[in-house]
Subunit: 244 residues, 2 copies
């Protein structure tokens, strides 16, 4: 899936730069600007290390020219449906997908998707929304649903960019965990923890470590700590016993 | 779940305003600023209809003052782990949750969550990361992982804003957790655990318990176990010493 970001009549250069930065953060580079504002030093500064995206952005006068070659046109809308249930308006703005639903729909698709983001004040016009194949809307608070342009872009790019960049961490294996529980059981006994509560404490630890998804390294360290404590307790006992 | 956004030494007023706007977009209002830059007309303009959040933001000099009453401290980090496998660094920055994983974890929890966002250039320092119970990192492109501060905030707020705060399990409070760590530190010392590794073990536990989101009940039980172990070790030592 190839994503093309299309900003329609953006009015503030800072927003255009900020969108470029966000695109690069999530691995996208294809930017079209329809009748944009001038982009000067502030816009460039907001782009930070994504100036190349700003510089290679394609400027067009007509929205249609920004859609050439696109397989799917996605429109963004932040406006909720009011009391006006006029049929056209209804179909224009609903139903829409959330950004995560959109990402899911596109996850197994190939082709070019044009993502349209409208003006800071008015968004996309009804005529522009008519062109869109699908709409996406970010779930926001009813009290203040109007997002900054680059923020809205960022949320959608974040969802669409969900590259698998999760750091690979090795989880502890079962044998290691069982050894931790077995040694903990032993430790509890030698510190005279109430017998009838030991099972419950070990179960509690199992649940805590389970929720935490203990890494191999953490499990190793924990086992070392527990062994050290046992050694200390039993060693002291030996010493206490030795003199007899 | 009550979310508190904590900006640590933000340098650009525009970012602070933009974060406030985003907070309001997703239904949050509790903002703390640790040693912030001055916020003038530009910052206010960026807040748009969220000026009230900026105006009621709590300014503090010490990070600790921004964490009072928080049940869980979430740190944000954009830095990936390099080849440096130093123990402390490893536990400082991994493992982390994605924003959606964090939202999922918090979905059935009650309490106050402090979300820490660091400086535009350096993020959070190692000392600040040490305080965090759990880390969140936004999956970004390896080519350019450094996000704009308000963009990063927006992505996380977007995810957390979809949380339905069902009132369910009561999380352990910070004081209880700190007591556990303090007593653990003590226990490690008296079992002769290598001095230079103690800090690292305590940090590891902080992260494990953070990811597990310890309940009040679990924290109580853990503290009891640790006290019992200390009592045993110190008691044995008294016995060992007594005969002399």
């Amino acid at each position: 899936m190839n994503l093309r970001v299309v900003l329609v009549e953006p009015r503030y250069e800072g927003n255009v730069g900020a969108v470029a930065r966000s695109m690069k953060n999530f691995g996208f580079s294809d930017l079209f600007l329809v009748r944009p504002c001038d982009i000067g030093p502030f816009g460039m500064a907001m782009a930070a290390h994504a100036k190349d995206i700003l510089e290679s952005a394609v400027r067009v006068d007509r929205l249609e020219d920004a859609l050439a070659g696109a397989n799917l046109v996605v429109g963004t809308t932040g406006k909720r449906l009011g009391k006006d249930h006029h049929h056209l308006r209804l179909h224009l703005r609903v139903p829409y997908l959330t950004p995560s639903e959109l990402a899911e729909r596109l996850s197994d698709k190939d082709g070019t998707v044009a993502l349209l983001l409208g003006r800071e004040d008015w968004g996309l016009t009804n005529d522009e929304l008519m062109i869109c194949d699908v709409l996406v809307s970010i779930p926001t608070s009813d009290e203040y649903p109007v997002m900054n342009l680059s923020h809205a872009a960022t949320v959608i790019l974040y969802e669409l960019g969900q590259v698998d960049s999760k750091l690979e961490v090795r989880l502890a294996d079962r044998e290691m965990l069982e050894r931790i529980f077995e040694r903990t059981d032993h430790l509890l006994r030698i510190i005279n923890y109430p017998e009838h509560k030991i099972r419950y404490v070990v179960l509690m630890l199992r649940r805590i470590f389970g929720r935490a998804e203990l890494t191999e390294r953490e499990a190793n360290t924990l086992l070392g700590v527990i062994k050290k404590a046992i050694w200390k307790v039993e060693g002291e006992e030996d010493q206490a016993v030795a003199p007899d």
